[in-house]
Symmetry: D2
Subunit: 369 residues, 4 copies
Amino acid sequence: MSAVVPGRVPTPSSPPPDVVRCASFELVVTDLAASRAFYVDVLGLVVTEEDAETIHLRTLEEFIHHNLVLRQGPVAALAALSYRVRSPEDLDRAVAFYAELGCRVERRAEGFARGVGDSVRVEDPLGFPIELFHDVEHVERLAWRYDLHPPGALVRLDHFNQVTPDVPRAVAFMEDLGFRVTEDIQDAEGTQYAAWMRRKPTVHDAAMTGGDGPRFHHAAFATHEKHQIVAICDRLGALRLSDRIERGPGRHGISNAFYLYLRDPDGHRVEIYTQDYWTGDPDNPVVTWDVHDNQRRDWWGNPVVPSWYTEASLVLDLDGNPQPVVARTDRSEMGVTIGADGFSYTRPDDAPDALPSWKQGEYKLGHQL
Amino acid sequence: MSAVVPGRVPTPSSPPPDVVRCASFELVVTDLAASRAFYVDVLGLVVTEEDAETIHLRTLEEFIHHNLVLRQGPVAALAALSYRVRSPEDLDRAVAFYAELGCRVERRAEGFARGVGDSVRVEDPLGFPIELFHDVEHVERLAWRYDLHPPGALVRLDHFNQVTPDVPRAVAFMEDLGFRVTEDIQDAEGTQYAAWMRRKPTVHDAAMTGGDGPRFHHAAFATHEKHQIVAICDRLGALRLSDRIERGPGRHGISNAFYLYLRDPDGHRVEIYTQDYWTGDPDNPVVTWDVHDNQRRDWWGNPVVPSWYTEASLVLDLDGNPQPVVARTDRSEMGVTIGADGFSYTRPDDAPDALPSWKQGEYKLGHQL
Amino acid sequence: MSAVVPGRVPTPSSPPPDVVRCASFELVVTDLAASRAFYVDVLGLVVTEEDAETIHLRTLEEFIHHNLVLRQGPVAALAALSYRVRSPEDLDRAVAFYAELGCRVERRAEGFARGVGDSVRVEDPLGFPIELFHDVEHVERLAWRYDLHPPGALVRLDHFNQVTPDVPRAVAFMEDLGFRVTEDIQDAEGTQYAAWMRRKPTVHDAAMTGGDGPRFHHAAFATHEKHQIVAICDRLGALRLSDRIERGPGRHGISNAFYLYLRDPDGHRVEIYTQDYWTGDPDNPVVTWDVHDNQRRDWWGNPVVPSWYTEASLVLDLDGNPQPVVARTDRSEMGVTIGADGFSYTRPDDAPDALPSWKQGEYKLGHQL
Amino acid sequence: MSAVVPGRVPTPSSPPPDVVRCASFELVVTDLAASRAFYVDVLGLVVTEEDAETIHLRTLEEFIHHNLVLRQGPVAALAALSYRVRSPEDLDRAVAFYAELGCRVERRAEGFARGVGDSVRVEDPLGFPIELFHDVEHVERLAWRYDLHPPGALVRLDHFNQVTPDVPRAVAFMEDLGFRVTEDIQDAEGTQYAAWMRRKPTVHDAAMTGGDGPRFHHAAFATHEKHQIVAICDRLGALRLSDRIERGPGRHGISNAFYLYLRDPDGHRVEIYTQDYWTGDPDNPVVTWDVHDNQRRDWWGNPVVPSWYTEASLVLDLDGNPQPVVARTDRSEMGVTIGADGFSYTRPDDAPDALPSWKQGEYKLGHQL
């Protein structure tokens, strides 16, 4: 198997496939009915097709068969992160590219999920289960069907976020795959804590977050406006499901997007996200954030709840077994910011103890965790 | 002086004045220029009139002279909570009403602040400096002047929130003054932790929050829409002043309003608030919230930062000296909810340890405070 | 009957009832199922109670039984405009007040509609069927039930608008009834084209629009935010019912509110309205608009569609027969503004032909109507 | 010169340049101060650089030097539509591509505008002045500078719209240039009235509108949210400039975006636009609208003001002289929809006279124009 090994992943001589965008993901859930209630009844995703074992869901502006597959299984985990490639030939390129790296690769002409044709699944060098496909069934794009839009209408799948112990290694591999970095978090010593990378011209299709991994941090759906994210919170409150809210809503510094993090019935994390910016120019400026800047992850300086740093979903290999988790050895973002020895500033020249009384409690929690 | 004495305040035989609405408040600030920068340059309140010692500010839909007076002074404190009364004769009624209670009362035909005529100031039985006036200078209502509206336009003064050790005593007195309760927080044993009371037909003109008092918890300005509150946060981030944000934004359970709490340069707390509901019917249903319901103060179940419970501004007597603070003896809302022995639920039937991992850290902080 | 007679309505010696707010209205509709589809399925009003002949509907923040009664009948018309009064005794005052004016008055201890107790209905001196009540059944206030809120949630009944041939006469009568003018439209010669009057502290509970009357121009429901009005338009488009939109959305000059006018299946006009301003001070400044100011009815200068001026619903007497319509003899607002001889300006000093090419077609339509 | 000649433009054997996105446009204005007041003081575009003759403006999320150049001149006209290309070599490709078509081509290593390096300008086969460039000066991306964002913040340049007499010819040429059609308007006889084409994955970088041409119909700037477009209207009203509003705001059927059309002091048309959808998949479904569907251009069925169809700006050749305008010979969209013989339906099966009274006046105007 493509175990997560240390050191730089070699750059293949084979050209990478031309990835268009992140397109869907597959989650193993332990109670399909509970997951359906969350994703369909609460969040309003649209069922394209379902049976006793799987549910294929899509967003309101999607025209391909699905953006999310829920699959009943014994252990909650991520089964696949799926990208659409530009042409059928890109699947051949994908096979060659990953095979050259020694990754385990499976190709199925009939696809791994309904509504999708010829597909490749791999255990990538970072340990994640990645799917690539081109052929896909078209379904009705419900963009104009406002009669079906709830107050918190989810219109697109926006990105994936993956936990990996060695961020620079992951970034280098993703760049070989054709991704470009748009933003990252570093410290003065050059430690890279996280990075955001894109194929489509938004801030990201995939982010790499430093931590014990490979694990799945979250996938994000987009709304058009901020009030739609507020509406999701209000709805959760009305349903007495507010404890599904893990973090937010708030404004990210990184990406400049408005965000909310939810946890599904299995604890899988879902972000709701809106309004980042155009990154499609070849020389799009990369934004590097100081890890000690407390506006980097929340522009309003609201602290990140520790679970957001520490919890994430297991990821499966191609046999459906969880990948072993390798510990991060680089410094931890949570440790250097909100821990007892951590330091977060609002203004770069602030003294380490400059936080006002109402912020100190929030940023000094680390020692008890 | 009208010291805060225990026991029910007697109901005067004199009828109370007819209070129209909360109209303005006066803050003593220790650095007038810093306060001006906050209220004018950051929040966008409009200067009606100013000199070296005072600044008179109003909201964008106001037509009376001011909603806030900032006054340079040696100790940050609240100098007055001002209500407009319906007629000049209501000032005579106010004098008789408070005098009968033995309160210290001052009346000035020329007013205590610019732009206001005949006024009464009292040290009320709860220890707060209250002003009542009718005559007032009209200024331009800037409602249609969208060329002057910032993205976070503050359009009205909405309410005051006062900290008092004995909430039922405060409520009974305010009801004698003609206020009506719209919502409150209680526990199963009948402890009343806070109450919201109105003259104008919104959820409140004044709220009473249980705690060591008399102290001033906050005053609230209204926006029209939620995105305007988000815009204030975004602006604070851009100005690297995000540490002015103490709590929120969020949705209140109580009042159903969308909220944000800021702290000014002296630590005075200001709320930005929008979209509560009509309460003007004589039989408007009172909503009582269980103190253990973690959606009561934030409908999304986000925890209240401890400083929000513990910190508040001093209030001045009519000589400008701070009123002594009397400790609350009833149970503390923070203690019974987020303390080590506290308990907050999302659903009434939840077990005490039902909070998911990502909420436990937030609600179990109390023991360290 | 209380025919519409010329001349000032005498001021009764009996004091008027204390009206709290506009509370509900009753429409006769010719196809109850079609009306239900419009008000419930499209607009999202909540059914409190219904049977084969009537449907009682309320808004999402209402706690009284209903805001709208739809009643199957042979001729589309307005059957009642209902106001809530402060106390049961205000009904006695209402009877005396209207009786002194020679109006036909009916009182029913059991009410005229379900969920309402002791009620008075009158044919008022302007020819409108007016209802007053105090006792009413309380129902669940759905303010917090965000799981039931559609994207275009209607949260309150805001006001009525009535067509009457003699606006000053109507205003004087409404002032006797205790209403206060907040805004009006006049010309330099003193012709009053329309007036807005309030009991509750918003811009109006009732507006009087000059035209052949008595007729019912519209009733308005409130949303919290502007995007919710846009959502109603989008939904109508999705349902291929966009021809229900008569005018808007837009920003009123008068009231400063954001608006939309719809026509129901019988042609009854409904406004959706949000964000006017506080008018509850006793000396609230009255705003008078010049009839030639083309920002008075639409702040953006978009022209008013002629049907909005000319079409309105019949109103019924207490026997259920339509009141005869009396022609307006004063100048017509449409005639003086968009007619061949009309004139509308963007800036007061503009020459009469100053409108740019793209506006001329819109404002010069009158001659063909 | 590259006169507009009938018939299909041949497909060059040279490959087209790789166009990234529409990037800027240059307008000749007759009163630079008046134009500055409009674009800077009213709309809030940011001045990157200016002198007595030219002003270079950008949107709030832009990082290249400018999105709009205003240049003082004797006749109001469009001087250039500029696209950014992926690499410097794409300029060589552009020269070869257009030269093969016999177009007049100019290349300047120092650029035609400040802040831009090596550039190509051509008179394209449709008669439009097109610029292509890669090298460009980077400036501060003000995305996070919320302190500088007005309520109607313009964050991106979105697209151009061009008037051309022969839409299929224009589409075929643009496809040769690498653009893809996302939506169009046709009738049952196959007449193509307009088409939307993209390079970046939105609905368009360029639309072709059938009419006498070559003329410049408009350029569009994007906001994040709909209320920001409303805020621009409100601001224009406050400044008594509401007659700058030509059409809207409204929801497009085509593109599903929320829109507003303004006219600048020279009559150049500017659209404000938000929230279309992802079109970046290689098999993105093309949406074809029936010309008689009255929801195609406004999803709410509001009619298009005739000036929007008939008025447009002249375009300049590379010597700065206006291109001659060639009359459209195909049917006119306005003629077949709102003219005396026109027909617009809300529902496909509606009878030709099915529009309700309040819509008939709007859609039957054509005969008088």
